[in-house]
Symmetry: C2
């Protein structure tokens, strides 16, 4: 008799997604959680490879994340940044002293010719993370934000310009030739996942890049495993980041329904379950009218208990 | 009538040389001191350009140097290094959080295509240094230490192996095609220096590379300006670093005389004055027998007063 399938695949961007991933990691045995992470936010800065979503995942899952700040490392120090400022260096993207070690270590690994997935696996292992963390692709993909100020590389829009420009759309440089992570794709194609959880990350700049790596979204659609989306919009607000502002600028309703419509229009037949917050319960009929089952749950994750509760809600959903 | 020549040129390696340079800088007006610095110790580490002698000069002249440790920055922190260690990165060469900003800033400047001399000038200016600090060449020169363990890049010998291997000689990769600093060479050729001070730096690995950049030592020899060497060996000991150990391994007498003989044999006619410590006064006749005038002075520089006193001794020496 074949072993029962117990693995969960999570798709995640940075902070919001990492919260649910921590909940999932707390509920599942290490080998039962694979996480496929957006790399469209990656960029080169001061000569170093900065991979913000990957690092947020690693720092969160290993208990290193700064809880108050929402990014970076707990107990971080800023002496490098301070010294760089006195030299007139670029300081708009804040690199902490400890965080810098991750980028420097990675930079050397890349120079040695190692692949992104191999590098992430080493970092995760060194940090004692049991879940498998995979970059969506070993090939570079770079999110460009189209805006009223022209095309901006993602971190320039997000950090340097503090999301102020009005967005008109997005593109992902390099995506048409990016190869998906082979381990995840193979596991998907072999029916090795019991469910797929799309974390409450930004649909446009965190999840779309992952889904648009050639072969990914269709493999997810064709798998028996149900695809469960957790809405990043609650009561018309983005819990974290610029999702609500982007939706508004794109003239999309800033609601969980707007998110569901985005996924259903762009990836027809992909989503099986849509998890919305209790405060959005009245949206359920309209989302179900799209052909998506709705699960109502407390989706705001203020502490580990909330993360675990939401994870349990997702893990209770089965293939129909 | 021509303006009187008032500029002093100092040749320097790292710590020992920087001490006398600080003394000279305290005695001279900013525009009256040029410093030509060894770059043979430079290397690439963790993807960053590390220029130890240049940085020691900059940190010393700008008052940033760590007085107790003898290298690096006062009040330095080590969180980057600590984090890198937990990731299994290379930690044999200690890079402090603040020091890292210098290397990172420089790395970016090099990527922008800027020359070493331009980069050093910017750093010196940002740090408020009035003396002109010049790398001996804009072209890379890399000191190799020949030893009983084979050929070792300088920092591997010096830091990683703590000077333990027994040396048999030295070579300077790239030196035959290295172009000397043009500003210093032109000033020399135009008679723009009143004196040249060779600081009490290691003759083999700090001063030899500078002198052996094509055109440098002959221009120094041919200039009217007297060349004054301050002995790095006092009472048979090197004040700082492995000079004494090297001389002993090379079967050279570990005395100020041994240093004088090294310069006279390798660069005949270069040295006009040799400054030895009071404790070595008995060596004066033998050094003078080489055709070099001897000046006796207190050469151990424990504090700024000692540095300034030794500087004044050097500055009092005139062309014969």
């Amino acid at each position: 008799m074949a072993e029962p399938v117990s693995k969960t695949l999570a798709l995640s961007g940075g902070v919001g997604g990492a919260k649910l991933c921590l909940g999932l990691a707390s509920e599942l045995a290490g080998p039962d959680l694979d996480i496929l992470v957006n790399t469209g936010d990656d960029f080169e800065h001061l000569g170093l490879p900065i991979w913000p979503d990957i690092d947020t995942l690693l720092y969160t899952l290993s208990g290193r994340a700064n809880q108050v700040q929402g990014w970076g490392i707990e107990g971080e120090t800023w002496n490098f940044m301070e010294a760089l400022e006195t030299l007139g260096g670029e300081t708009w993207f804040r690199l902490g002293d400890r965080d810098l070690a991750t980028h420097t270590w990675r930079s050397q690994a890349l120079r040695e010719g190692r692949h992104a997935s191999d590098i992430v696996a080493s970092l995760a292992s060194t940090m004692g993370i049991e879940a498998a963390v995979y970059p969506m692709s070993d090939d570079p993909v770079r999110t460009q934000v189209h805006s009223d100020e022209g095309d901006l590389p993602f971190q320039h829009y997000f950090v340097r310009r503090q999301c102020e420009p009005e967005v008109t759309g997005f593109s992902f440089e390099g995506i048409t030739s990016a190869r998906p992570n082979q381990t995840v794709l193979r596991t998907l194609q072999q029916g090795g996942y019991r469910r797929v959880v799309i974390c409450p990350s930004n649909p446009y700049v965190s999840i779309d890049p992952i889904l648009q790596v050639p072969g990914v979204w269709t493999a997810l659609r064709d798998a028996v495993a149900p695809v469960i989306v957790v809405s990043p919009i609650v009561a018309g607000l983005a819990i974290k980041g610029p999702a609500a502002k982007m939706m508004s600028e794109l003239a999309v309703p800033v609601t969980a329904l707007g998110v569901a419509e985005h996924y259903q229009r762009r990836y027809p037949g992909l989503v099986d379950y849509f998890v919305i917050d209790e405060s959005d319960a009245t949206l359920a009929p309209e989302i179900e009218a799209l052909g998506i089952r709705v699960e109502i749950a407390p989706t705001i994750m203020k502490d580990l208990q909330h993360k675990m509760t939401l994870a349990r809600h997702c893990l209770a959903l089965e293939a129909m």
